[in-house]
Amino acid sequence: MRLHPFTALTAAACTAVATTAAASWQLSFAVSIISSVLAVRAGVAGRVLSAAAVTVGPLCLSLVVLHGLFFPEGRTVLAEWGPARVTAEGLQFALDLASRTSACVLVLLLFSFTVSVPDLVSALAASRIPPQFGFVLASTLTLLPAIVGSLDRIRQAQEARGLLLRGSLLAHLGALRLQMVPLVQGLIEDAGIRGQALEARGFGAPGPHTSYRHVDDPPGQQIFRALALVLAAAAVALRLLASWPTASL
């Protein structure tokens, strides 16, 4: 079954919200494992996990250091070095926070690496969201590969003229400066020409736009989205209710 992009987006967002609201490391771990399995099945595990490692790794490390060693409410001391105390409560708190963050990041990365951008742009257009919004969204995803490709061509041209990409960091920075000039000039020139082309093709025209690409939105998925939103709202409400007496103390 092909998921409508809004269904995937709703599922990812509601899972992230519910996981945060539940504040249970067991649920967080379950969400992380399910996300990873789905990433493997979609063939994007490498990209999702490496992006998650870069994003969440440093954060988890800092949580463990901060709360594992310095948790004022910690009572069960496991080890002690001067002012630093490893407490069971601190480690538990760090684990909760790290697992929750990891689950949210994984589920959102899974969405961003599996969603069909053309489907998403088309669905946005069909929802009467200004097409410029969808264009910016899609451009953001296509700009980086374009810049990388352009930089590679420029580097090749400069190496062919005797630029030696070896030596100190300073030499590399110097080479980077030389690559930036044609890159930025090229991007500005491209933007100018493309702007003229887009304008001529009526992109900036006010009023409604239609979409050539048709994205199926079966009633079952619409019901699922509504239910997911209700459940996520309920999870937040329950969390607030559960925390209320504690918060008022």
Partner: protein
């Protein structure tokens, strides 16, 4: 279908000056384009062709992009401009619907955010809120006219040069404009791409469209035109049927490349007494070279055998170049010609076999060092230019080879060789496209490499530029350099080369 004789577009440009420009880019240009006709606007580099094309296609708007004095008449509606604030304003989208412009860089026409050819074609209709059923019919109709019916599901990023050009034309004609203006529609296309685009234009003319092509060469398309207009330094110097213009002094003076002009310009490049063609050891050798691009990661499992096949660009390829020899390599777009040149200096490394320069393998030599022996001119000069002045540009990387004094002397000599002595202190971005290409050539020539590898060197050059290029190639060959020309420009390449090779299934064979 019988061609109509109604006037689709009439323009009288007394003067057009870009905002911030010191001189008029166009002066005294008048033209009248009839429906169902093909018109060729011919001019050398910097003649104002693209400016005129953009004005006719609504990409440059009076008041917005510059000051226009004159009039434009489209489909019976005449707009008069006197350069004042009261001038009429052109709505680019409405104008484009009736008089469309396709730039030379076809990719610039595309939205870049559509995932298939069909969606890219429909982009302009979406913006006009065209109902979906109507869009489906329009896409099918346009695809049939432009020969894209079999490519509708393809990602535009994977199209060849000819296919991309046809898609750009399709994007312009899907709204059925009365006038279509095409800037250098055949530039850098292989023979198959040229034939495809020519067919599309012929179909459009037969269907009643008024097609205007801008070109700096009297090519196959220009020869089919009913009317020629010659532009020189922003002014229309001649206009009329081709028979009347062909032998005119105005056309000769314009710098337009004429059929056979490259031949005369290059007559003296055939091996003369100075050339040491075929003697001495090879300065460049490729021995059993294979090369394949890595298969892109896929979401739906590993690549199929067919896809692996497509990435194997070169197979067991042998090639050698002697001092003083000029070799031309031809092949369809995407055959691996540019890849081959990048193997010469180590920018790409072969997956099998060996590349030797001056008898030594370059397998472990950095590109920057091989560059002292192999000079490579890329297709897009913009990627190569990054300094503040033309002189600094040519001087880049010369000092380690020739010392501070020698570097300047050689740089000035190289600039002189390509006719840019007067532009030594000009910023490269301020040069015309043709001059930028010649400047990039100067940066290669100044190094006096043993091997000169030029990728589509004539694209964007007018006759004067081609003459400079042919002279430089001849000089390089006479001093003993081996020259490899990758070009589908038969007029230039065939005459310049001692040997012609063609890509055939990843290998080179003699033509």
């Amino acid at each position: 279908m019988t061609a109509t004789t109604r006037t689709a577009l009439r323009a009288r440009i007394n003067e057009f000056t870009y905002h911030g420009g010191t001189a008029a880019a166009l002066r005294d240009v008048g033209l009248e384009i009839e429906g169902g006709s093909l018109t060729a606007i011919l001019g050398g580099s910097g003649s104002g062709k693209s400016t005129l094309g953009k004005l006719l296609g609504g990409w440059l708007r009076a008041g917005h992009s510059g000051t226009l004095r004159g009039s434009l008449e489209l489909g019976g509606t005449r707009l008069d401009f006197d350069g004042s604030a009261a001038d009429p304003r052109i709505n680019p989208a409405e104008w484009f619907r009736r008089a469309a412009f396709v730039p030379q860089e076809a990719a610039a026409m595309l939205s870049t955010v559509r995932s298939s050819v069909a969606e890219e074609l429909a982009f302009g209709l979406e913006n006009r809120a065209t109902p979906r059923q109507e869009m489906l019919r329009a896409v099918d109709r346009t695809a049939a006219v432009t020969g894209l019916s079999g490519l509708l599901d393809r990602d535009p990023a994977t199209l060849s040069g000819g296919e991309l050009r046809r898609l750009a034309v399709g994007c312009a004609v899907i709204t059925e404009p009365e006038v279509l203006v095409l800037d250098e529609p055949l530039a850098s296309l292989d023979p198959a791409g040229t034939a495809q685009v020519t067919d599309v234009i012929r179909n459009l003319v037969a269907g009643g469209s008024a097609v205007v092509v801008l070109s700096q060469a009297v090519d196959g398309l220009a020869l089919q035109a009913r009317q020629w207009i010659v532009l020189d330094d922003g002014t229309a110097t001649a206009a009329g049927p081709p028979g009347k213009i062909t032998e005119s002094a105005e056309l000769e003076a314009s710098g337009v490349r004429l059929p056979g002009s490259a031949v005369s310009a290059l007559a003296s490049t055939s091996p003369g007494p100075e050339r040491v063609l075929g003697k001495g050891p090879a300065i460049l050798e490729l021995l059993g070279v294979g090369f394949s691009y890595p298969v892109a990661s896929r979401r739906n499992g590993p690549a199929t055998a067919n896809e692996v096949q497509r990435t194997n660009v070169l197979r067991d390829l042998d090639f050698s170049l002697r001092p003083g020899e000029i070799v031309r390599i031809v092949g369809p777009n995407g055959a691996g010609k540019s890849t081959l040149l990048r193997l010469f200096n180590g920018l790409l490394r072969p997956s099998s076999g060996d590349v030797r320069v001056g008898g030594n393998s370059i397998a472990r030599t950095p590109v920057g060092r091989v560059a002292a022996s192999v000079g490579l001119l890329f297709q897009h000069p913009r990627d190569q230019l990054f300094e503040r002045t033309a002189l600094r540009e040519v001087c880049f990387g010369l000092r380690p080879l020739f010392g501070p004094g020698g570097a300047t002397v050689r740089a000035l000599a190289a600039l002189d060789e390509v006719g840019l002595s007067n532009a030594a202190q000009v910023h490269p971005a301020e040069l015309s496209a043709s001059q930028q290409r010649l400047l990039a050539l100067a940066t290669v020539l100044a190094r006096e490499p043993a091997v000169l590898a030029l990728d589509e060197p004539t694209v964007g050059l007018d006759r004067h530029g081609v003459e400079r290029l042919s002279h430089a190639v001849k000089e390089a060959a006479e001093r003993g350099a081996g020259v490899v020309l990758v070009t589908n420009d038969a007029g230039y390449g065939r005459t310049a080369a001692d040997r012609n090779l063609e890509f055939d299934a990843g290998r080179l064979r003699e033509l």
